[in-house]
């Protein structure tokens, strides 16, 4: 395939193919093994460090050997498309989603959920927060609540936030989490009950609902005999979320002079 490209690029192809997959691609002719090994090591170690820093718990539950196997497979099989170092973990997630069956069968079933959960912390800590307009004193029931732009509403099939080397999930458990960055720029995690999750989900729909509209809908979905109670309860939740910096205020209502 490569007859048409210059010889220096053919050499580069052989060089990089060997770094990615030394078992299947011999090093370029005339290159000493000891020197080539330096490149194999620095490229691999760099990737390994980068994913280990983002996924410390995944690394622990996998154990050193499986984690290293996975990192080698990532280098071998995945073409990373971003020059930004902090996005390497995201490349790793997309690699895991498409990993070959031989690799998949080595991994615990909850691993991709766990990795996603660990990556979210990096994402929320470093994502730029878009400027948003809101009324900090607005009525959250009468108007549409405005959420902090870093907020992530997440639903996992496993209790990812409880996983550790000693606590590996044996069964699935629907788990709803809210992750956001507060005023002090710290990343905060909250576990949500199904009703609160549903409320926040509705409030993010387009076009969005006011607090009261969303809660009325939920009361209907629940067939609740006393919808007022749901509305009262929901209003308290919205105020609580505001005091924690998840809700910034309400959408600005345009007044005509």
């Amino acid at each position: 395939m490569s007859q048409s490209i210059p010889s220096f690029q053919r050499y580069q192809q052989a060089f990089t193919a060997h770094i990615r997959d030394p078992l299947n691609h011999p090093r370029p002719e005339g290159v000493p093994a000891e020197r080539m090994a330096v490149y194999e090591e620095i490229v691999f170690n760099n990737l390994l460090e980068s994913i280990s820093a983002c996924f410390p718990i995944a690394r622990q539950v996998c154990g050193k050997r499986l984690w290293s196997t996975l990192a080698h497979a990532f280098l071998r099989d995945h073409s990373a498309g971003t020059p930004l170092f902090r996005k390497i973990p995201e490349e790793f997630l997309s690699y895991m989603a498409n990993a070959s069956p031989e690799v998949q069968q080595l991994l615990p079933p909850y691993l991709s959920s766990l990795c996603h959960y660990e990556w979210i912390e990096l994402l929320v800590a470093t994502m730029p927060a878009a400027e948003t307009a809101f009324d900090p004193n607005g009525d959250l029931m009468a108007h549409q609540p405005v959420f902090t732009p870093t907020m992530q509403l997440l639903s996992y099939d496993y209790a990812v936030h409880r996983i550790s080397r000693r606590n590996q999930p044996k069964e699935m458990a629907n788990t709803r989490l809210l992750v956001y960055r507060n005023h002090a720029e710290d990343v905060k995690f909250m576990e949500l009950n199904p009703v609160t999750y549903r409320l926040l989900e509705l409030l993010q729909e387009i076009p969005p609902y006011t607090g009261k509209q969303a809660l009325t809908l939920i009361a209907g979905e629940l067939n609740h005999p006393e919808p007022e109670k749901i509305i009262l309860f929901g209003g308290e939740i919205l105020e609580e979320l505001k005091s924690q910096g998840v809700i910034l205020g309400s959408k600005l209502t345009h007044t005509v002079d």
Binding site: Q12, N46, G81, P83, T126
Partner: protein, 293 residues
Amino acid sequence: MANISQIQGVGLGLKRELIPQIQALYGQKDIANINFVEIAPENWIDIGGKKAKQLDWFAERYPIVCHGLCLSLGGLSPLNIDFLRQVRNFLGRYRVPVYTEHLSYSTDAYKGQAGYLYDLLPIPFTEEAILYVAKRIRQTQDILGQRIGIENASFYVTAPISEMDELTFLKAVLEEADCLLHLDINNIYVNSVNFGFDPHAFLSGIPGERIVYSHVAGHFQQTPQLLVDTHGEDIIDPVWKLLEDAYQRFGTFPTLLERDNNIPPLNMLMNEVNKIAQIQQQQKLLTTSRLKA
């Protein structure tokens, strides 16, 4: 407006561990010799949260230079134009007067796509490669609207297909692309050991008028014949000698200390920063006394 003349004296590579220490000592004479700081755009582009606040803090107080790692000037895949536009916006926003990259590559064309390997790989020194790399440097300079500096990279393998030595290749690329030189003193030394040449002779062949600033750093000795450019150790004497030699040949130029691994506390690192300042001062005195004589 960002101006290259803001970059003077001694700089320090801005690592995460050092940020709070510099912030705590800012304005005190202990760190007065830090005149500018260097960051990799790949770590800071499009960042938010605490890191964005840190970057704002530094941009208000220090001139910043950008030293890239992933542009892949010698790479197989097309230049990443989207990334270069991000770099351009970043340089503008933080008023960065200097952007430099390595004379190396960090991508392949794996499975027909640009695949990042996130490390610096050696370009074979061939005539075709000179033209190819120079063209990509010119393309970069066109997009950014400013000249860039290229750094002489450290490496561990010379391609058997190379047609010339490193110095010939470096000079030809500088000439062909008409760009600046980011002179890495430690890399000259590392390569001189790895490939057995005289580092001072290499230095004497450098086009000094193209130097925009320089790097010094420590490295790891894997064997007596193989040095690995880890930036994880103190600077050794032969590298200091090489820096002095460079100042004597070309006059002093801004010089930045790189420390990326095994990072000691800032007060220890300041010993090396201060030593660079001291060598620069000595050289200026020598030049003055020579002019008077």
